[in-house]
Symmetry: C2
Subunit: 107 residues, 2 copies
DNA sequence: CGGCTCGGTAAGTCGTAGCTTACGGTTCGT
DNA sequence: ACGAACCGTAAGCTACGACTTACCGAGCCG
């Protein structure tokens, strides 16, 4: 029942387009139009995704004349990675017990 | 452009309900009804999620009388974890370069 | 100053994932 | 053999997220 509720960094990377954007920015900083050229979606769509990524602290933006250059935010990326790792820890933790006692029925 | 397309183990865990199910099963094997009791969704909903999880190789089912007990599949979980790790590797790899050059420019 | 590029925002459409209710099939107990 | 418990599947609805087009502001250049 426990009504799961978390900040959910998962839904940020749940979208393929956003993952693609992150991977692009991992290669190097890009402007919005440049990202749109490398992706199969329109420029406004990229803009919307960037907004979410920025709110999540994953990317930073910097005005460069009429353009706006986006880059990954190290701290944000690390934080999100840790958050996802927490899930795996919780999962794999109780998981080892199962594997170990698989033959044995009760403890 | 590059029309990203992958088997996407991400969408499997993208749903909160499925993550909750996985965490429950990490604690120990459960029947479908038991899972439904611990989650804020109906039993059929759980059943549908279990179907996806099973297709993804994350869980295994075993008939026990009129009940059906589900448990995590070690190999499947490990495989998916590796798959997600690949994303982080690709991201953090080109990422270090950026971080490295960033210090030189600014401080 | 005009015209141009670049980018954010609004409004609206569309697809689809997730949920529920309803039904049918198995299996166990009595 | 009848009823109950347990589960999967079908059908349908609803909500939300992703995308597009259209519009407007902001900065550069002639």
């Amino acid at each position: 029942m426990a009504t799961y509720q978390e900040p959910d960094g998962w839904e940020i990377l749940g979208d393929p387009s956003r993952r693609a954007i992150v991977e692009c920015l991992a290669v190097g900083p890009r402007a919005v139009g440049e990202l749109a050229d490398e992706l199969p979606i329109s420029r406004p769509a990229v803009s919307q995704h960037l907004r979410l990524l920025k709110d999540a602290g994953l990317v930073e933006d910097e005005a460069a004349g009429t353009r706006r250059v986006y880059r990954l935010n190290p701290a944000g990326v690390a934080a999100l990675r840790d958050q996802l790792d927490m899930f795996w820890r919780r999962t794999l933790q109780g998981f080892q017990e199962i594997v170990g006692e698989e033959d044995e029925e009760k403890s």
